[in-house]
Symmetry: D3
Subunit: 315 residues, 6 copies
């Protein structure tokens, strides 16, 4: 069993019960989310262990987040309660673009944004099989950013998902900060997509983007949306195509892909096989609301792949 | 800012919460609808002004309709309260034909059907940039029909959506009455579709239908269902194709198309560009229940077109 | 009007209100189901008469089942109340395989499983135009199995749907028992699919499977999932292709196909035409939850076929 | 087993899912209702037989009503399908008066209102143990009124619930018509309440009202709202007090009381005992939405009385 | 028709669909709220005019708030769009104290808190029949506080509801600020309750509290929770008792009381009569979720009083 | 922190979303329940530790139960996965007796019923501060009964809730088995109610029942339903009265009372104070669905008591 340490923010997701503009949505459905928390649950369900480092509010939503993640098997022993409120966000689905979602954040000054270097534990970082964070944590506050930089400095093995959210910072800030991190701490795993690579290195062509990002990581996963994803490592390149399904909500699908990939690769699966599973996990993720509820076990992923790759059969 | 005067009936829509035969639907969701009201809201949200001329019941549903439309920015100062009840209709979705809806009306003798020439205001009609009505208003009562004929006679600029509903009258009545209107009052804008043109001039081929209808209008929009729509004007012809999306309820999509088109053309957009936007609005409309909730702003339409015409991207 | 006698179990279906793993489903929607009950309702709605022979619990769910089927026109005069509880099952939808469902049964020792030869009525069986049962009834208990064998022995005309459920028995048991039945009582109608034929005769190719099964039935319907179905009879073979629709829940679709086919063939429709209708009924069935709510009347099937086979029209 | 013939209208009830003014209610829940249909189901569930005489639309709602009542065991063999639509009504709950409901009808010209003397069957009326109707059926149309007068003339034993609905007629019309009926056809059973007696004979005091109404009926049930009800017969008087419960919707409670009372008295229960049961049935009726869903069996009524009359116990 | 100018914050309310701790609530229902907005709608529905002065976010929730209030007839012409987000709050109902609610705010730095003196319009303030605000607006920001002080200085007639929210400021801050306002600008109308008077003048006995507050206002309404409320004016004192009803959510009930009272008193009703109506409005308010949906018209209030003061009647 | 070991069955609760007979309930809401699991969560939330000993199915419902309890802080390390299915039950609420619920079990042969002596761990039992079980576990199977007897034999301190469920065994069996347990293993804590004492010792008067049961336990809690409860210990007797609240579902209220009482007494609270808290917890429990969601923290209980014992205040 491998251990991942994830630094980030757990959020309360308020997903629209019906599609369309938020102004006409009456009911919202609560879920637990946050990119690094999503990674953690995906990672844990596939047989490994994740320690979450971060803060939630000392309030109902904070307690809710801790109970949920603990239930899922995540190690929440290092999640701190903070006097600031737990961050939340709303999701507007399928409007004004079908099969796309929009996030509206109430996370400024949130408990999660108060993550700071003081929250780190040296032993934990040193012993972890991987230390993971994302561009979101870099963007939410100065102290959170410092925490990621410091953690990556101390870690043996690092993983980073670029996850650029333009509601949290400008493309310039995103580029400067992330490239600064990459230059200082070459990664073991870089997970990104063709929108983010456009921001970071001016390229949205996967191969070209990889070429420019390759100095900074041993292995790069390049997500390409519904089309699929490509993994580059040790001179190899493997593209795993996406599946066509009914889209309910795409939020969290990238984290499902990344968390599944990391967990399986750390468990010893070859990156190609791990990416096929990761695409399967990400596909299931878009077919329902909630970022973590659709996350599968290995047995469920196997069943997905077996059935989806059969010739069209009988029901 | 341009002003449209719309004559028609505001209805309470009771949409099935689940697809299937009405006999097995337990929950109904209330919306405000009515073809001309839909036009009004689409028109208003795109930056123009609409004055609705019609009647609602002096009851909860009537007050509901007025509050909703006023909220949306529609000028409801001329909507009269009538002792008869506000008309309602139920929608059966996706049964027995997938992606089609069936309307069941309780509008006989409704407040809305009591619209009459006495409800018209000469100044308003004369000063309007366009006076609009539909085949539905011609069908609901004698007095409503007279009101439309009289209004069109007095108006400077007219727009008409054929909107033939065979639950309200026979094909023969529809043909005779509508062709009578067209002959007497050549229109600036005729909005129709290939089912209606079959009834009116015996043709469901768009070009052939246009040829037969062209004497009666300066500009004709020919809706062709999910395939798209064609606009014919000043010797030009432009086809804007539809988008493939998950269909929740098609009711109101034609009005979204027509109202969006009219508002943008009156604002000075070229008809071709206006039709592209109209197709976008109509596409969004079929992806959710409610006729008016999915109606977009110009900024939302721009986002739709930008994203939907991108090469398949990353999520 | 023809009479079918159906032997089997009526179940309470608890369908997930949202897709995804059962562990995260909070709301369940109750429906009446059970393969032979589904057949009965399909059969009845198309103008014939069905007598259901079986047992339900002397409890709320049992009474619920009886009231529902009686409402639908099924003759429930021979349904016995049993001290054991009414069987139930849960449906997990679209997980871990999109557009597939998983059934979780609580039917061991259920009232329905206590069907026994003593519940049969000789006159009824002799006078019936067809006596029908399924592989499920063979699997639920010894006594139910005996009841089917005895009923088929006494019946003039028999129909059997293989319906192999691997949660109820092993492939070996299924093969042995079903083939034993087929050998002893050659059928008029055999309804099966390419998964079941693989279990029974080791063949999932429709034509090959038919060749091996043909000694046991005058007419064979071979279901091929979303692809469609083939009917073989009197040296003829006819394939009716499926329709592409949004899948909500596939449970019950096979029964809709079989029940529709049987009812129409007994009413005198040629098997080819009956199969086209049966495919239509089965298509509607997958677009909504509930096995029996989507079952159509002949008029609804006609409307389906008329509209679905039109060239893409206007909305 | 006794037979009741009930003349009246089956309605589709659209009950507000949440309390408050209809203008702010978004979801409506469909139920089957109509005073005489409510009587029928109450009557049937207690072990007798009811034949409903009336009309529903040849539409989804009409079929829905027939299937529901048939499921409940009501004899619907004489319910006619009519080209006019099935009547519907909406319920506004707890507003503007807590624990009261308001009905909004769409039943003018409904199928049900087209009941006419031609729908009557002499044999049926003559052989019935009781023929029942209400003031509502007198109010909905001329022909329906005539049907009731004629039926009562031909019947051996009659029962009438005054059920005055001031949205359907004026107090004067109600008084004149009902008193006319009472004078011409002295009843076996008169069911009324203190509001209706105020309209009919100017008295809302139960005893005084009874004195004035006593010439017209052998037995009078005087409903007194939440306070309870009194039965007067053969010189006896018995008051059965109501129970204090949470009120969800009072619509249908009076019919529950009347139908329960009639069924039990005809089964041979003494009127006092029957009234205690009737109050119990009516009490259950106000605690949930739907007029017919709360109707109990005798066993359930016994359990209610046993538990509610216990000294406060343990849970 | 009288005009009120209200200064304050419009909030998005996310009410728990089910009672209990927020950590276990899955669905939230969106409403428009905010104390001064509630006052506005209550005031408007009773026949007067309210101009709202404040800010909402230039976002979906802000647009939603404006459309809703405009629909209700509130003059929103002076509501500014602000780059900061629209404030929101969650309601936890009936936990841990039955019949009480808890509000959890996300309004720090909200658009509404950016109300400032620059948003005021001298003419509007001078011509208003009353200028109204609450302790909440004093608490949300420095600039909002200044806006209230300045507006009250310029106004002819002022009204103030103390509305102390201890989640927004300390008792000391609340006392100092509010007493400062009262001392500088003696009010025409002071609306308060016995919890707030305890904070302000150390007294929760209504009469004693009034004695200490009387120098600061011509008329004082002292709310006493479910027990009722007392109005003191021109040497008179009148207590109007509350009604016992099922409590769904008490949030907004005080505003319903205040807004109803103000509107009717300004319309010329005697304060005693106005208070009776205000208690009625406040009673209806606690029986359903949403602060503004339960607000009644005068006709509805009359019906409430007529029915609730009747001797227990018949249903 | 004290440790409780609880032996029993975790069940999936399917609670009716609406009140009334199960035959008319369409939606069911899933919760985690089971008397001993309820005790565990109540115990844990008040600051102690509970180890659950029992079995769940190796299925979705079993995993669901484990994740939920782990989230709540219960030690589930000794919960075994069993090939048999997880037990479930349905709740019918408020019918046919208002404010009462009826449970319908599908737990025969469930995973939980397969608890057996082999599942016990000597060290755990010896070191526990209390070992707890209930009459339900005695009733579900032979092996479960043996497990309880053996565990009680080995434990230092025992607690037992009689919890007689007459759907699981006869009064005679219940009496014989439970009295047998009490005689062999005198308890530290006996929690019972006046219905159960009637079965066990023929007495429903609390004091009389206590007299007869006192030989078997050092401390007895006698629940008296909505009236309250009495604790008897060391010659003392203390009655804590219940509160009048709106009842949603009483299932689980007794466990809330018992679990709260045990946890606080073990933490050192005097039994009288602990009983006041226990009554508060039990009161909250009946106001919402779900057995475990309403369970409070100590801070929430304090708030309840503070507010509920205030003189009626202001809202």
């Amino acid at each position: 069993m491998k251990t991942m340490v994830a630094l980030g923010e757990i959020l309360i997701e308020l997903n629209s019960l019906s599609p369309g503009p938020l102004r006409h949505v009456t009911y919202f459905e609560k879920h637990i989310a946050g990119s690094e928390a999503n990674y953690c649950v995906a990672f844990t369900l596939l047989g490994n262990r994740c320690v979450f480092v971060g803060r939630v509010g000392d309030d109902e939503f904070g307690r809710n987040a801790i109970e949920w993640l603990r239930g899922k098997g995540v190690d929440v022993g290092r999640v701190k309660l903070d006097p600031n409120p737990t961050g939340i966000f709303f999701i507007q689905r399928n409007y004004p673009v079908p099969d796309k979602s929009i996030s509206i954040y109430y996370r400024k000054g949130s408990a999660g944004s108060r993550l700071s270097p003081g929250d780190l534990d040296d032993d934990l970082l040193r012993e972890a099989d991987v230390v993971h964070s994302t561009g979101i944590t870099l963007a939410i506050s100065e102290t959170a950013r410092e925490a990621v930089f410091e953690a990556f400095e101390r870690a043996k093995v690092t993983s980073f998902d670029t996850n650029i959210r333009l509601k949290l910072w400008s493309p310039e800030e995103a580029r400067e900060t992330i490239m600064n991190l990459l230059r200082r701490e070459p990664l073991k795993f870089l997970i990104t997509d063709t929108d983010d690579s456009k921001v970071l290195v001016g390229e949205s062509n996967p191969d070209e983007a990889y070429r420019l990002l390759s100095p900074y990581a041993e292995l790069v996963v390049m997500k390409q949306g519904p089309k699929g994803a490509t993994v580059y490592y040790e001179g190899e390149k493997y593209f795993s195509p996406g599946y066509t399904v009914k889209v309910e909500d795409v939020v969290g699908a990238g984290d499902a892909l990344g968390g599944t990939f990391l967990s399986l690769v750390l468990s010893g699966f070859p990156p190609k096989k791990a990416l096929d599973y990761a695409i399967a996990s990400s596909t299931l993720n878009v077919t329902m609301r909630g970022d973590q509820e659709p996350l599968p076990t290995l047995q469920e992923l196997d069943e997905f792949l077996r059935e989806m790759n059969k010739v069209p059969g009988v029901r």
